[in-house]
């Protein structure tokens, strides 16, 4: 994956978008569409709603490339932040519609979300929190340095112990332990509480 695209690529992409280069828009989509769509899907749990957020996020980025500030982080993290915000915005909207239309007579369009009917404001906020944490965790896993991710995958999904992980990765046991611990430390930042303003945590430049 091209997760560690250099900042130069980011700046160049921004210039090309600003210049109105359709080819750049295609490249932007190719690089980030699955990130945006997965993130939106994690929050909204609905294919159509995730498609819609994908259209909105790329539409915004194409119309407002100047809104990206390379000083604040990578283009990837900016796109992830846009996707997260837009998905949460759509989720709130869908929940509000569902609350206004508890019969669920089909007038609300966000499928799975709307179908759940009436909920309290706290339920909704709780669900948004959960969805946000899960979406940030996905982002962190897909954005963390490849060596950390590879170690986590071996230990977690392939059930290797850290010695076997070290052997498979061709690193020392010390290094394998370091990677597993650091990987989880990064992942644990997904649980940081959402601040009122600014980008949600977990999309920071450290990644």
């Amino acid at each position: 994956m091209a997760n560690d695209a250099p900042p130069r690529w980011d700046r160049r992409m921004q210039q090309r978008l600003a210049r109105g280069e359709a080819a750049a828009l295609g490249e932007l989509y190719d690089r980030f569409a699955s990130l945006v769509h997965n993130l939106a899907h994690r929050v909204l749990e609905d294919e159509e709603a995730a498609d819609r957020v994908t259209r909105e996020v790329f539409g915004y980025a194409w119309e407002n490339p100047g809104a990206y500030d390379p000083q604040q982080g990578s283009l990837r993290s900016w796109i992830a932040t846009l996707a997260h915000r837009q998905a949460v915005h759509r989720l709130r909207e869908a929940e509000a519609r569902a609350a206004a239309d508890p019969a669920g007579d089909g007038t609300a369009g966000e499928g799975a979300v709307a179908a759940r009917g009436r909920r309290t404001a706290e339920d909704i906020e709780e669900r948004i929190r959960e969805a946000s944490v899960a979406a940030r965790a996905d982002y962190i896993v897909t954005s963390m340095p490849a060596p950390l991710r590879a170690a986590l995958e071996l230990a977690y999904f392939d059930r290797r112990d850290y010695r076997q992980t070290a052997a498979e990765l061709g690193v020392t046991e010390d290094e394998a332990r370091r990677r597993l611990r650091l990987g989880l430390q990064l992942l644990s930042t997904a649980r940081a509480p959402l601040p009122e303003a600014g980008p949600p945590p977990g999309y920071g430049r450290a990644l």
């Binding site: 750049a24 989509y29 569409a33 769509h37 996905d138």
Partner: protein, 465 residues
């Protein structure tokens, strides 16, 4: 992608209270070393999943947090085909003496249940009296609960064009991608999406390339990685024509097949070591494709007729992009078949351009076959520019074409139609890719059998490696 958690471990050895049992060998059950779970329900209902935080004595406030991570679990374990092993009474070995630094470094591995039993025991003994480590252990255990399956949802391949069209509707491009390059761009993006989540083994999957050389079907064996290399070096002909670097260098052969053989012979990207790094093949192919699209966007209208030499023949740049788009579809289909994955035909506007290119190439292909004695003689010697015998070609969802049969110089004429061929998208793909013997193409046919046969063979003969 939560992994199975059998939730067992209710038996605590009397001599080691609150110490979770050691983790069994990595490949067996994958149980969490959690001792505070109740035994799994006898009715076989899914046991509770999720990480459990370590507990220290006399800290009841942590009880609350214990619930939290469980809400983020997904019942995906079944799909991984792993079943929890039956409970094994744990017998922790004596904990070795390890320094604080080493114990701390083990916390990640411990949280992932990736420590050998004796170290698991040592860490757990340590957590009972080291608060900072216990705090971190708790946090890392919670983080484990956030390791989900990446939802490997396949993006709807048609979403790309919808999203791009939506964007361009909101703000028109100042530097648009020419339509004919857009066809290539879309097909390359579709293939790229297929490649994105492939594992190493799939990159090495054998693929047999098949085509019709004019007389018979031929084939060549390679791998998925080899196919991408093939696409890259043939796309490289376009790159060189546009003044971009040729992936094979300045002295590369011009013929697509020779280029491919040269690459397969010398390409370091296809060595066994490189197969472990699929990106080494995919990235250069993709980057070159993006560079091609970018370059023609800036090149202006004049570039579209620029001749692109393919060794024995040449095509205008515009047609050559559509031809490469078709090849991209053909080989994406080959790859999809090799790894047993579905692959759809292109969007109909794009398919129409591909069929249109083939329909325009057919009169010359017929004439060539006639000169080689492979097609019947013209029935009528018409004057150039006059209407002559015509074949009506229809491809499902793409449109209708009228092919002059007697000479490339003759005008097609609906009134002089002597035969009709109707193909669905799949049949067009199979025929034009040279994947089926032309006479066996699943084509609806009415009219002059010789005309039909000649056109089917000429279509198949346009296929290449």
């Amino acid at each position: 992608m939560s992994r199975p958690d059998d939730g067992t471990g209710g038996t605590e050895p009397a001599e080691a209270p609150r110490i979770p049992p050691p983790r069994p060998a990595a490949e067996d059950s994958g149980r969490w070393p959690a001792h505070w779970h109740p035994a799994p329900p006898a009715d076989g209902a899914p046991p509770p999943r999720g990480p459990q935080e370590p507990r220290r004595p006399q800290e009841p406030h942590e009880q609350q947090e214990q619930q939290e991570p469980q809400e983020h679990q997904e019942p995906a374990a079944e799909s991984r085909g792993r079943l929890p092993a039956p409970p094994v009474p744990p017998v922790p070995p004596p904990a070795p003496q390890l320094s604080h630094a080493v114990l701390k470094s083990l916390l990640g591995a411990w949280a992932l249940a990736a420590c050998p039993p004796e170290e698991t025991a040592a860490v757990e003994a340590h957590l009972n009296h080291c608060n900072p480590c216990a705090d971190e252990a708790l946090r890392l255990r919670e983080a484990v609960g956030l390791l989900h399956t990446e939802q490997s949802l396949d993006l709807d391949p048609l979403l790309r064009s919808r999203v791009l069209a939506g964007c361009l509707g909101r703000r028109p491009a100042r530097i648009p991608v020419p339509d004919w390059a857009g066809v290539y761009d879309a097909e390359a993006a579709r293939l790229d999406a297929l490649l994105r989540d492939m594992g190493e083994a799939e990159w090495r999957a054998p693929v047999r390339l098949r085509w019709f050389d004019g007389r018979r079907q031929v084939g060549r064996d390679t791998t998925v990685a080899g196919v991408i290399g093939h696409l890259m070096v043939v796309d490289g002909i376009l790159a060189a024509s546009l003044g971009l670097p040729d992936p094979l260098g300045a002295d590369a052969p011009g013929d697509p097949e020779a280029r491919t053989e040269a690459y397969w012979h010398d390409g370091p990207e296809l060595s066994p070591e490189a197969a472990a790094e699929p990106e080494a093949v995919r990235e250069p192919w993709r980057e070159q494709g993006h560079a091609l699209v970018r370059t023609v966007s800036f090149a202006g209208r004049g570039a579209r007729m620029l001749p692109v030499p393919y060794g024995g023949f040449s095509l205008p740049l515009r047609d050559s992009f559509v031809d490469r788009a078709f090849e991209c579809w053909v080989h994406a289909g080959d790859i999809a078949e090799a790894i047993d994955y579905p692959y759809e035909p292109p969007a109909s506007a794009h398919l129409r351009r591909m069929v249109d290119l083939y329909a325009r190439l057919l009169p010359d292909a017929l004439a060539q076959r006639r000169r080689a004695g492979l097609a019947g003689p013209p029935r009528r010697l018409g004057t150039a520019g006059a209407p002559g015998r015509t074949l009506h070609l229809e491809v499902e969802g793409s449109g209708h074409w009228y092919i002059p049969l007697d000479s490339p110089a003759a005008l097609p004429s609906e009134a002089e139609t002597v035969a009709r061929i109707a193909l669905d998208r799949e049949a067009f793909y199979q025929l034009a890719a040279g994947h089926v013997p032309p006479e066996e193409a699943a084509a609806g046919q009415i009219g002059d059998p010789e005309a039909i046969r000649d056109v089917l063979f000429a279509t198949a003969s346009l296929s290449r490696m």
